[in-house]
Symmetry: C2
Subunit: 183 residues, 2 copies
DNA sequence: CGGCTCATGTAAAGAGTTACATGATTTG
DNA sequence: CAAATCATGTAACTCTTTACATGAGCCG
């Protein structure tokens, strides 16, 4: 059911088409929270419209249909956002890999950790820039500001974790510091 | 494919039955990384056995079958753990809700944030205790130590985020501090 | 020996991915 | 006018959940 409410939520931000929604998943939601392809989005929009939760408010070129929430849709979204009792469990392959990583020996794990470290630093920089930009001139924050700040903090914690993990593993791999890989 | 490697990974820790694996998902993996029910686990174990990646090493009471990795299974797991190129996107309904939370007005969001804050503090305490226990007397760390430390840090960051978010929202809801809710 | 837990399974439905398919509009 | 992008759709397959189903062993 999450997709359904994700769509309602994005339409609450502003009316848009299936195409727009697809891009929003691709550009921001996908990396932090949820993903869906157009092949799942279009049928779901048709169901939402059939259920009276959204409605076409504009028809444009190339068959483009812009949807907006109906009053019923706004209520459904609101009800869902206020009720946290049925939160789906997280599905995070990254953490799964961490769980299983003891299978590798430290000399194998260390380069992986360095890659993660790099990646996390880049994420922090990118997210900080985005949050900064959204906080912009007029002091208004924009949609998803709580998530943005959450993301920044999560990735900062990830950077610190990676630093800790590297030093932890480096202790188990004494041959560090010399570029010499012989014997 | 993640389930497949999750099972191989857990069997790499120690040989166990489908029943044991089901409980491990339920008790620890579910909350942080991945979930699967017995109805998905048993058929997958049969497939893994058919593919020669695991094998029954013991048969016990009530039809219990204990599986262990074969050499091929160990290689498959190792290959997967070393190759991070095809990481599945995160599916996190919690973050999705944060994304959409601007739909609520601050007076509605604030109590939700307080609940999250409480919950995060409990998670930190529980995880710290678990990590501490695993770090135990002999200094050995146990399976999943990297994930454990990661979890603690993520939840600590969540607590700090919640504190920030509460103070941020409280500014938008001036009638705080008086328990009086009348007009 | 009755109730609980252990232990495994299958079937149907729902959610999500991949691949196939089509056509309109814009841009250079 | 050709190429790229916009825009929507469906079909087949895989993955996941929910529900149904069964029986053995353990504990009081």
């Amino acid at each position: 059911m999450s997709l359904r409410y994700a769509l309602l939520g994005l339409l609450a931000d502003e009316p848009q088409s299936g195409y727009d929604l697809t891009q929003r998943f691709e550009r921001s939601l996908k990396r932090y929270a949820w993903h869906a392809r157009h092949s799942q989005i279009y049928p779901e929009l048709n169901k939402l419209a059939a259920d009276g939760l959204i409605a076409v408010v504009e028809e444009g070129a190339r068959g483009r249909r812009t949807y907006a929430l109906t009053e019923a849709g706004r209520e459904a979204l609101h009800g869902w956002l206020m009720d946290w009792s049925s939160l789906q469990p997280v599905r995070n392959e990254f953490v799964l890999r961490l769980f299983l990583m003891s299978v590798l020996d430290p000399s194998e794990a260390l380069p992986l950790l360095r890659g993660i470290h790099e990646h996390a630093k880049e994420e922090v920089a990118e997210l900080e820039a985005r949050v900064e930009a959204a906080g912009g001139p007029d002091g208004e924050w924009g949609f998803g500001r709580l998530a943005g700040e959450y993301g920044v903090r999560q990735y900062r914690a990830m950077v610190e974790w990676a630093e800790w993990a590297e030093s932890e593993l480096a202790r188990a791999v004494p041959d560090e510091g010399s570029g010499d890989t012989s014997t």
